[in-house]
């Protein structure tokens, strides 16, 4: 039996390629596709650099700047991993997620790019209230969006899906959930802060809620797979139930676990196990969250606990990824528990490096 030949990738532009997800996509491309010329477009290109990669500093909301980068890098695939972090203003989300995505799409279509891979978020189907149990791609986008982030991600995704097969460009959208791993700026660091503050005894809700987390390497792998799949499609391929272009896919580790189990596993990987647990019921937690927000608002400080955080740590939030496993052939490269170990180990290593720097 012959091993199915891997689709080669010749020229890939990773937009946001110096960010958390983006630089993992770059790294994986270099590992899995040594034949590939990788370029990166990012606002700032001074971090997370790799040798043999061409870096271009540019603003994705500027058509002239994007055109310039596309002319230089001449990509057959554009992987758009741009995603502003949580907790920014509405204007920024609209500018980056909507205007930026539109500019990139239009410029890519005009330049004859063959495949466009878009990083979306599993939260696009979250209304902020309802539990999400084993949700698949048939779930609708809520009429009233939870917040500007989800709203703009959903608009961006729709533009990407609508742009499919316009002048020959194929598009795909990957909805990620709960990214964590080396270079992570939100998930693991947040858990480490709680650990430093000695808050590990507290548990919001009864921990019967399952959540999906995704090790960053698996998320990056899904992007590479998607690019390969789109490029491997014959130009005149008809749209069927098995074609992946113009489709959105949920991507997770496929291992939903009770939310607090994941957090405790992270702490345990750092060598800490809380001696006992104080369970704060969900209703009281929400109230405490609101109170904390109020205090934060009055004092002008960032609140420690918010209703949003309470909601995210007490609601059901896991997905059915069978569409990705069957159509994309996606299978996580790293298990959840290995991911936690690797991710935490990276942070421990970084801390050591920081300490050494300070010592010198």
């Amino acid at each position: 039996m012959s091993v199915p030949k891997k689709q080669p990738l010749h020229n890939v532009l990773v937009v946001g390629g110096c960010g958390f997800l983006g630089h993992h996509v770059v790294k994986l491309l270099l590992e899995q596709h040594p034949e590939c010329n990788v370029s990166v477009l990012d606002l700032r290109t001074d971090v997370n650099n790799f040798p043999k990669v061409a870096y271009y500093s540019a603003d994705i909301t500027s058509r002239t700047q994007v055109d310039e980068v596309l002319s230089k890098s001449k990509p057959e695939v554009v992987i758009d991993t741009v995603s502003p972090i949580f907790g920014l203003g509405k204007d920024i989300y609209f500018k980056v997620n909507v205007d930026g995505t539109r500019t990139l799409l239009e410029a890519s279509t005009d330049k004859g790019v063959r495949a466009f891979v878009y990083t979306s978020s599993a939260s696009v189907v979250f209304d902020g209230v309802s539990d999400m149990r084993n949700v698949n791609e048939s779930a609708p986008i809520p009429k009233v969006p939870m917040d500007a982030y989800n709203e703009t991600k959903a608009i961006g995704e729709k533009m990407v899906i609508d742009a499919n097969r316009k002048r020959g460009m194929l598009t795909i959208s990957l909805r990620l959930s709960g990214l964590f791993g080396p270079g992570d700026r939100q998930a693991l660091p947040g858990m480490f802060i709680a650990l430093e503050r000695g808050q590990t005894k507290f548990q919001l809700g009864d921990n019967s809620n399952m959540a999906d987390f995704t090790y960053i390497v698996n998320a990056a792998y899904a992007h590479v797979l998607a690019a390969e799949k789109l490029l491997a499609m014959p130009v005149d391929q008809e749209k069927t139930t098995n074609t992946v272009d113009g489709e959105a896919f949920f991507i997770t580790n496929g291992e939903p676990v009770p939310f607090w189990d994941f957090v405790r596993a992270v702490w345990a990987a750092k060598g800490h196990v809380a001696p006992y647990t104080i369970v704060i019921p969900k209703s009281i937690s929400s109230f405490a969250g609101a109170a904390s927000e109020l205090v934060g608002w009055l004092t002008g400080k960032e609140p420690n606990l918010t209703r949003q955080k309470v909601k995210l740590s007490t609601c059901q939030r896991y997905f059915d990824i069978r569409k990705a496993t069957t159509l994309l052939g996606y299978k996580p490269l790293v298990s959840l528990s290995q991911g936690v170990l690797d991710g935490v180990a990276w942070f421990v290593e970084e801390e050591k490096k920081q300490a050494e720097k300070k010592g010198q």
Binding site: P256, D261, F262, A265, W267, S335
Partner: protein, 484 residues
């Protein structure tokens, strides 16, 4: 003699005691054997079934008539094979050919075997094996073909192990060996039963295209028993836990029971349970393919017992000292709860929660165990989705609480509304009549009302006002009558 501890147990778990009584008193089997029509040899076979299998005998005897005898004989044949394999007093030169040709024995009328050691507990079955062979000849041809095929495969598998000196000294080595061993002794039974079910159209024939599902059914049971039987097996000089797993925790297999090794011992059980748990969702998937109630019960009851046992042995240090078993009352409760796939899923959920509760971040496999439980939960959610939306949830809860459908609930609500309306209407009519009579008699409501308006709320004042109103009315009427 009832032990004090047993009494205490049921004092604390009255539900289980109730379950035992319910099972014993009220349980009516779906199908019953017709003993009058049975030949003496078949009766003897069922006696052996009772003697050799405590747990399976009852569920086998309740199977539908098309399968009952075939499955009972299948069980006895494998038990005979097992009795020969187990017996260390039989020389390998005699044992090996016997195991490999056991399927041929099934056609030899009058064949039996008296070579077992005197202490082998099911020795008598082999001594009278001719009754099994006699009845075997009478079951349908397709069933015989299936049973013989499985017997041949299992006999050869057992012979390979009997020949394998390394296995006999050191036990199971890798996890792959462990899976293979369990396949021979249990997975094959699952395969055989599935083929029997499909042959009599009691199960979806798609199950034959997914042999890993029937294999999982066997492996889940076998692995749970292997974990539970650590102490018993070790006492008999046997070790079934794969070295690939236990060697991560300890250097010498027999030293788990030592108090100083407790943490390693508990973590090792965790990994063994994790390994068994990986088959749980496939077992539920398999059960979805069963089409007949008695077959469903037959297949599901051992599975719910297994998940209950697994939750009991999980991180339980007693496993290293004695045979840990679920209470009889709990077993009865489980048998009462098994009815359809949904209730079986609920039972699985219940025991997964027990496992989740005992799981601790100190365990190196903590998150893997969480994920294994999560995988089963996700599978259950995929076949029985939790209703979405508030109305649906409310209905769902109502239904769970009262066992009523939404329509029935609406009907009941309507009835209550009508009842209240009738009461209100009756009260209104009676009040109206009374007020009417008072008015006819000349009650001065205007005065009473006026008094109230003036803030004269005192009962005396009001009642005197009313009384005076009535009196004045009466006196005002009286003279007229007098005049008349």
């Amino acid at each position: 003699m009832v032990k004090t501890s047993t009494l205490l147990h049921y004092a604390c778990h009255p539900n289980q005691l109730r379950a035992i009584i319910q099972w014993k008193v009220w349980h009516t089997p779906l199908h019953e054997r017709d003993e009058e029509k049975e030949s003496p040899s078949l009766k003897r076979c069922f006696e052996f079934l009772d003697l050799t299998s405590r747990s399976f005998s009852a569920v086998i005897q309740e199977l539908c008539p098309e399968l009952c005898v075939s499955v009972a004989l299948f069980y006895l044949i494998l038990r005979g094979l097992d009795t020969i394999e187990d017996d260390m007093t039989i020389a390998l030169s005699e044992k090996e050919p016997l195991l490999r040709s056991f399927d041929e024995v099934l056609d030899k009328q009058g064949w039996n075997y008296k070579g077992n050691g005197p202490n082998e507990k099911d020795r008598q079955l082999c001594v009278e094996f001719d009754v099994v062979i006699k009845e075997f000849a009478l079951i349908p041809e397709p069933h015989r073909v299936i049973i013989k095929d499985i017997t041949k495969k299992m006999g050869n598998g057992m012979a390979d192990y009997a020949n394998n000196a390394e296995h006999n000294v050191n036990g199971v080595n890798t996890v792959a060996d462990y899976d293979l061993y369990c396949h021979y002794v249990a997975g094959l039974v699952g395969e055989g039963l599935t083929r029997l079910f499909v042959a009599s159209e009691k199960a979806n024939k798609a199950l034959l295209d997914r042999p890993h599902l029937s294999n999982a059914m066997g492996l889940f049971l076998q692995k749970t028993n292997i974990i539970r039987d650590y102490a018993e097996d070790l006492a008999d000089g046997r070790r079934f836990w794969p070295k690939e797993i236990w060697s991560k925790y300890i250097a010498t297999y027999s030293e788990f029971p030592k108090p100083e090794n407790e943490e390693a011992a508990l973590n090792c059980i965790s990994e063994m349970c994790l390994n068994a748990l990986s088959h749980a969702d496939e077992c539920l998937f398999y059960l979805a393919g069963i089409r007949e109630q008695s077959v469903f019960n037959f297949a599901a009851i051992p599975q719910v017992m297994a998940i209950a046992t697994l939750s009991l042995v999980f991180r339980n240090k007693d496993v290293y000292h004695k045979n840990v078993k679920i209470a009889k009352g709990e077993a009865c409760e489980l048998m009462l709860e098994v009815g359809n796939l949904r209730t079986v899923c609920e039972v699985f959920r219940k025991y997964l929660k027990v496992i989740h509760k005992k799981n601790t971040p100190k365990d190196p496999n903590f998150l893997k165990i969480s994920a294994a439980c999560g995988k089963v939960e996700q599978f259950i959610e995929s076949i029985f989705p939790t209703p979405k939306g508030d109305d649906e949830i409310a209905n769902h809860r109502q239904q769970e609480a009262t066992g009523e459908t939404p329509e029935q609930a609406a009907e009941a609500k309507k009835e209550i509304f009508l009842l209240i309306a009738a009461i209100v209407a009756t009260l209104f009519v009676i009040s109206a009549i009374m007020v009417g009579i008072a008015w006819m008699l000349g009650a001065r409501f205007d005065i009473a009302f006026q008094e109230l308006m003036n803030g004269n709320f005192k009962p005396n004042a009001v009642s005197s006002a009313v009384t005076s109103a009535v009196t004045s009315a009466v006196t005002s009427i009286a003279p007229e009558h007098v005049e008349l």
